[in-house]
């Protein structure tokens, strides 16, 4: 293991330990905010949690969680939908690593501290290539080592309000390409009143959620391979969106 990787692994261990101490305090508060202040409800929550637990149980292969993206709190909603609050608060490995946009979530020192405690590795979308690559390398390393990270495979919140296959982000494909046997839990989450993208879902919103686990495959090489992986994930989300829309 090189010195850069050792430093990175050390910083992950430290962050994981600090998050484990902090999560019992902030996770229940976040859940109370979502459930009682905002009045959100996840349809079929118990079944979703059982399915996600089963996906984690049935194989030791690396796992990424890739949801569609419509609001700024999608990652919190996805975690709440897939994992019981007590597990998020007390079992550190159930709290997913998250890669939020630095401009939205980690501008000042307080925001940076909050994202650190929320197990986040901020990224600057469209930032310098080497900085973006360093974050992708960290997530790759975490995924390889059996940690579960959540990444949005579309480049930002969908401006059309629909999953767009052409918006597949290269970074997700790169991580999948770098992690042999990587499985992807595709999560389609949408509020019943959500017409397009927004900062927050409306209060009292009820969310429909669909979950599918895929293992992307490709015969391509290099950048073409990464693009194909990213497209397979977003195509899966698109199919799930179509099914959810038909079911409404």
């Amino acid at each position: 293991m090189g010195s850069v990787e050792q430093r990175s692994a050390g910083s992950h261990r430290l962050q994981r330990a600090i998050v484990r101490l902090a999560a019992p305090f902030w996770v229940p508060l976040a859940a109370l905010y979502l459930r009682f202040y905002q009045g959100y409800r996840i349809e079929g929550r118990a079944g979703l949690r059982e399915r996600f637990a089963q996906m984690r149980r049935e194989s030791a292969a690396p796992l990424l969680v890739c949801p569609n993206h419509l609001t700024l709190i999608d990652s919190a909603l996805v975690a709440w939908a897939l994992v019981p609050v007590w597990k998020l608060a007390f079992l550190g490995n159930w709290l997913l690593w998250n890669v939020p946009e630095r401009e939205n979530f980690a501008r000042g020192p307080w925001q940076r501290a909050a994202t650190y405690l929320a197990k986040c590795i901020p990224i600057s979308r469209g930032g310098k290539r080497d900085e973006v690559a360093a974050v992708l390398a960290r997530v790759t390393e975490l995924t390889r080592s059996g940690e579960v990270a959540l990444l949005f495979p579309e480049a930002g919140r969908s401006r059309s309000g629909r999953v767009e296959i052409e918006s597949a982000a290269w970074g997700v494909g790169r991580i999948i390409a770098s992690v042999p046997g990587c499985r992807v839990v595709c999560v389609y989450l949408r509020g019943q009143g959500q017409k397009s993208w927004s900062d927050l879902p409306m209060r009292g919103e009820r969310f429909d959620v669909a979950v599918e686990c895929i293992e992307p495959k490709s015969d391509q090489r290099g950048a073409r391979r990464s693009r194909e992986f990213a497209r397979q994930v977003v195509t899966q989300l698109k199919e799930m969106e179509d099914r959810v829309q038909v079911g409404r």
Binding site: K128, R129, A169, A177, A223
Partner: protein
Amino acid sequence: MEQSEVMKSVVKILTPWAKNPDALAGVSMETNILDDLKVNSARLVDVVIAFEDEFDIEIADEDVDTVNTVGNAVNLIMSKLD
């Protein structure tokens, strides 16, 4: 292939992705692809694949991490053509 030929082809490939026509008009080796030309970072992969097709080369994901400017792209392609 001469550097000027590669540069010309690179600029031609970048043209449909560039959202800043002024920067494109004055493009040089120092022009930053994302910051100056305003190419969407998520679409950089399509640009790279277009380079692969145009020059019949293969570019690894890691190679792209070194590409910030048009000059970086030209030099990367030249190194693959050698």
